[in-house]
């Protein structure tokens, strides 16, 4: 326990010091995971809604794949992205400038987007399927377009949808295997909280690692509290 307490003290000290290196790491963590979350939400919510609300051949297979995607090891995602973006890989060879290069935040965003997507889509699907099917009918009868219907159903299922986003965020802000591989944990450039934790653990600096872990948890607690606040009254129902 001593080391955990030590970690707490260290965490407070670190934050109080306002060390610019630490601030940069925090900002990068939030930026990378925030953007990745945005992308995977933008893709995952429509896909989840589609799977939840439509019936088409092959749907079950897609669902099973999505569920499997929830267990996609981040390292393997990282490896895929690495091989794809690698300079002698298929995309890297095109040399197209708009594409993210390895060892840049862009590559990390790509990997994290892929990791968060199945969680967001899968849970959105489950949430949407939990909405009374009669509601859909009623909403259409009131003149909703297809898009408006989906929007209303999502808003009825907002608790589940918000949880899906929270889970997606949780899965990437805490992820290390993929960002380590495609980001490279380069100081001042691609070092995020989790890779910093791994580095410090490797160095045997357990209290510093613990301190960074505590900071990470505090950040995600704040992010979740903010989301709960946005989600509003849903919790009192």
């Amino acid at each position: 326990m001593e080391e955990i307490i030590q970690g707490f003290i260290e965490a407070v000290r670190l934050i109080a010091s306002g060390d610019p290196g630490l601030v940069a790491i925090i900002v990068l963590s939030l930026r990378v995971s925030g953007i990745a979350l945005l992308f995977s939400t933008m893709a995952g919510i429509p896909v989840g809604s589609l799977l939840g609300l439509s019936r088409f051949p092959g749907r079950k297979l897609v669902i099973a794949l999505l569920y499997t995607g929830m267990g996609f090891p981040p390292v393997v995602v990282g490896l895929f992205v690495y091989l794809a973006l690698s300079r002698n890989g298929p995309i890297g060879q095109i040399g197209w400038d708009a594409l993210p290069a390895l060892f840049t935040p862009g590559a990390m965003i790509v990997a994290q987007t892929i990791i968060a997507f199945p969680l967001v889509a899968g849970f959105t699907m489950a949430a949407v399927m939990g909405v009374d099917p009669n509601l859909r009918r009623q909403v259409r009868a009131l003149g909703a377009t297809r898009a408006q219907t989906v929007w209303t159903i999502l808003s009825e299922a907002r608790l589940g949808v918000v949880v899906s986003i929270i889970a997606g965020f949780g899965s990437i802000i805490s992820e290390v295997g993929a960002v380590m591989l495609v980001g490279g944990n380069i100081e001042h450039r691609t070092r995020v909280l989790t890779t910093a934790i791994v580095l410090e653990t490797r160095k045997g600096n357990f209290d510093l690692a613990m301190a960074l872990g505590i900071i990470l948890l505090a950040l995600s607690f704040l992010a979740n509290a903010a989301m709960l606040r946005l989600q509003g009254k849903t919790f009192d129902e």
Binding site: L135, Q138, R140, A141, L142, G143, T152, E156
Partner: protein, 243 residues
């Protein structure tokens, strides 16, 4: 008489192989109140779902204002928005009463929605409950909110599925007056499903009887009740005596 607003030909609907509705021909006239009666499970609610384009018929064609709606078809939004339904079992959104009634207007991005909503709530006697959450309403209150939500859209066709089932005599009279008024002043076409034959008699211009998905008879109200052609209509009308 002008063109009928709805024209159904050889319309059938089956679920999992069981045919629950099968109508050879039916025309609904512009501006009329048509009551649909029949026992539980006869297919009345199914008919309304078809008339609101919520499900396509399994076979046959429904023509609405001249536009076809068949097994594979769909209807343009602008036309679809001329029709709305108050379901048998009111389905309210997980919001407050005011937001529920305003919902259809918001879908249409209508201005001055608030005034309309307030007026509609007043009409159904719920102006005091605008801020209450829909989930906490009593059965009759929910039914009136659902009606207000439909009314406020001023549809050309109003499909009502037992809209007074959960209401007490006072409120029944209130709702019936509203329906008559809409029909009279805005010549709204109304298709009213009711198990209450008295209500059918009070409100409808014409009445039709469904039995096991078959259209048995459709006739103007007096004929239907006093000199029906079909013997089954006669015995159904006699069943009313339990009231």
């Amino acid at each position: 008489m002008s063109e009928p607003i709805y024209q159904l030909d050889q319309v059938a609907k089956a679920y999992e192989g069981r045919q629950v509705l099968s109508i050879k021909h039916l025309a609904v006239q512009q501006g009329e109140i048509l009551a649909v009666v029949g026992p539980s499970g006869a297919g009345k609610s199914t008919l309304l779902r078809l008339l609101n384009f919520l499900e396509p018929p399994s076979s046959g064609v429904i023509r609405f204002m001249g536009v076809r709606f068949g097994a594979a078809g769909s209807v343009p939004l602008s036309l679809r928005r001329r029709v709305t339904t108050v379901f048998q079992r009111p389905v309210l959104l997980n919001r407050n009463v005011q937001a529920n009634v305003a919902y259809g207007l918001r879908l249409r991005r209508q201005q001055r929605g608030n005034a309309l909503v307030e007026a509609a709530l007043q009409q159904v006697g719920l102006e005091a409950m605008a801020r209450q959450h829909a989930r906490t309403l009593s059965g009759g209150e929910a039914q009136r909110v659902a009606l207000a939500r439909a009314m406020v859209l001023h549809p050309d066709v109003l499909l009502l599925d037992e809209p007074t089932a959960n209401l007490d005599p006072y409120n029944v009279r209130l709702i019936e007056e509203i329906v008559c008024q809409l029909n009279r002043e805005q010549s709204t076409t109304v298709v009213l499903v009711t198990h209450n034959v008295f209500q059918a008699r009070r409100l409808a211009h014409r009445v039709m009887l469904l039995l096991e998905g078959q259209l048995i008879e459709v006739a103007d109200t007096t004929t239907f009740f006093e000199s029906p052609e079909d013997s089954r209509t006669r015995s159904f009308v006699c069943g009313e005596l339990v009231y």
